[in-house]
Symmetry: C2
Subunit: 436 residues, 2 copies
Amino acid sequence: MDHKEQILLNIEQKKIHLGIIGLGYVGLPLAVTFAGEGVSVTGFDNSAERVWAVNSGSNYISDIDDELFSELVQSGKLNASDNFGGLNNCDAIIICVPTPLDRFKKPDTSYIENACSEIARYMKPGTFICLESTTYPTTTEDLILPLIENESGLKHGSEFWLAFSPERVDPGNKLYNTQNTPKIIGALTPDGLEIGEAVYGIAIENIHPVSSPRVAEMVKILENTYRLVNISMINEMALLCGKMDIDIWEVIEAAGTKPFGFQAFSPGPGIGGHCIPLDPFYLEYIAKKYNFDLSMIHTAGHIDMMMPHRMTIKINSALNRVKKPVNGSNILFLGVAYKPNINDARESPALKIIDEVEAKGGKVSYHDPFIPEVVTSNGLTLSSVELNESTLKKNDCVVITTNHDVFDPGFILKHSALIVDLRNLIKEKSEKVYKL
Amino acid sequence: MDHKEQILLNIEQKKIHLGIIGLGYVGLPLAVTFAGEGVSVTGFDNSAERVWAVNSGSNYISDIDDELFSELVQSGKLNASDNFGGLNNCDAIIICVPTPLDRFKKPDTSYIENACSEIARYMKPGTFICLESTTYPTTTEDLILPLIENESGLKHGSEFWLAFSPERVDPGNKLYNTQNTPKIIGALTPDGLEIGEAVYGIAIENIHPVSSPRVAEMVKILENTYRLVNISMINEMALLCGKMDIDIWEVIEAAGTKPFGFQAFSPGPGIGGHCIPLDPFYLEYIAKKYNFDLSMIHTAGHIDMMMPHRMTIKINSALNRVKKPVNGSNILFLGVAYKPNINDARESPALKIIDEVEAKGGKVSYHDPFIPEVVTSNGLTLSSVELNESTLKKNDCVVITTNHDVFDPGFILKHSALIVDLRNLIKEKSEKVYKL
């Protein structure tokens, strides 16, 4: 029996051992989904804290059910390790590591490369490897394949198989999770695709195979470029509407009545999170190699980059109306998460605005029910203050940066002297409210 | 009884006489929809040909049912005139005239202004006036209101009312028509809005009032800017994918499996028709007055403008593969309509490509089952040739510019030597096919 027949048989009998590298908001839900289907899963992560949390049955990702999580750990189906030597026991390995941009907005593929080096060092012949981290098209073929072949000495196509399958995790989405979101997969060879479909087929309802890893890589970037471009477009429109005395929120609501050919996006203080502000710039980076300028992504990035500064100007204008300067005023920010009802402040525009207002002499503070402490890019460390009547009253300006469902618009409106509402939280008309 | 009470009573009893200025793809369906609900309608148009056609019961808009049309004309509910003096008998007047761009892509509001001058000359006190033509926000308030007041001597708010309600006609849409597409309306005063809602309420199922004409004007431009931006974005992606050996159509199909946060757009040779290539530039124009640069629309326009040229290069590359130059080659274009299954070639990118290929010495011809003859911007007049085996065979290159449903991909593939498929009509893999 050759390696392919062996792994397909093991998959059929659910006897494979699955390794997942990276136990963040993508890897951990994926590990739980597989373990929940009876597969034995080991998660690998350099963070001793995460490894300890998993092994003690203590869930740290809000989209995962706590009870199911501790059950899977107790039953031995799910465990974690920071010792990558354990990859040697895995039949299939899925990579779910970050692909950030550096401070100059260039792709940083070092997490992927490190993960692949660990795989190359430890994997046994006959292993299926799949990358889920968002990256530019050609990464799997041109970066990972030679790296693993060279460092492992194993031959792709007979001794291991490589594929790309983009994660589509949408934190906080109540309807679509890892299991019921269709999964794109593209492999380097037909065998690799067959094995990849079989592996993911154990745990995921719907698999959509494509003809190559680069197509699969492009799919994910298209999805998020669509979001970047549309959010940027509506943000630019919102700024114009502010000048033309048009309520952009009313416009969007009305446009939303068109029953075909329109999808509504909401403006806001800028784009945050780990996908939309990053993924399109991976594509812009590789496009240069093809002597190609992605003007749409470039323009969207330009709009997005200036949004926090434009929001600072709005705060300035609002305070100016009541004859106050930013310098020396008390300014409270409500919400630092990058979107409502989650506890994630990565790339959050709120932090950029806080930095800029603080640099101009504003006395900044924030409240976020889900994020007790933040550190801004400027190194400012803040703790969430309590949201009550006296906090609202003692601030010269209250800025709504995230529209968490728990925020009570009536309460905030009643007790605040001046509000800059960047999320259309306050629906009631009021002289005190200055809207995006 | 004052003017307002009078008109509301007339509406309630369906005793109003409605005038519609402009009997094109917006005005005529609207006239038919109102007449079908028992309102007596007169359509006004400068074209003697259209007026004659309507009065002889001969329908020329494909989305209108021929039988219903001739029935309404015969019953006297619907008639047409090129004598604007008849506006004097109208209780309500709706303006559905073109708002094109001139050759330098600047808004041409002369049709609106002329219509308003005719209204001002003839209307009786107590008339409700509504503009449906797409235009930049503030047109109704800043251009039309003073024009009508000055020229008529009547006072807005008591002697006439003005509103804006954008048309949302989607030619060829089988599901949504004038009657069942929700209608946005914004008026200058609460009375005007009340009357406007009552007028449209006679014939249209769902009315969505907004707070001002400028909001209503912006709604329509947002809807079409969304389309311009997304089509331009996917066109740019398609060009990059061509360089990266990625099938953009496969990418889009796969991205379409994402069940949230994505809407698929198809690439193509450029944007055509009377809305998407025009409307956003109305906004760009007025934005300058507010010292505001709409970079997203600007970039989208840039991509759109270069698409026909890029498609000419694709034709060149395809011919070059088989060692032929454009100069002297026979090149057949399939489809000149700007979108499938309609008979409208306005702003069609096919015509721009034909012009450019012809200027480079290509011997151009076309087939379109719905458009027997075209005149290009360069003044080239062409008649549709028959689509058969010998036509396909005698051409060096067949370019698919519109994906009409009646085109048979198998037949075209079988008999053509070389195909440049700009619409993904040919799904079968073939060496002969060069895709966008």
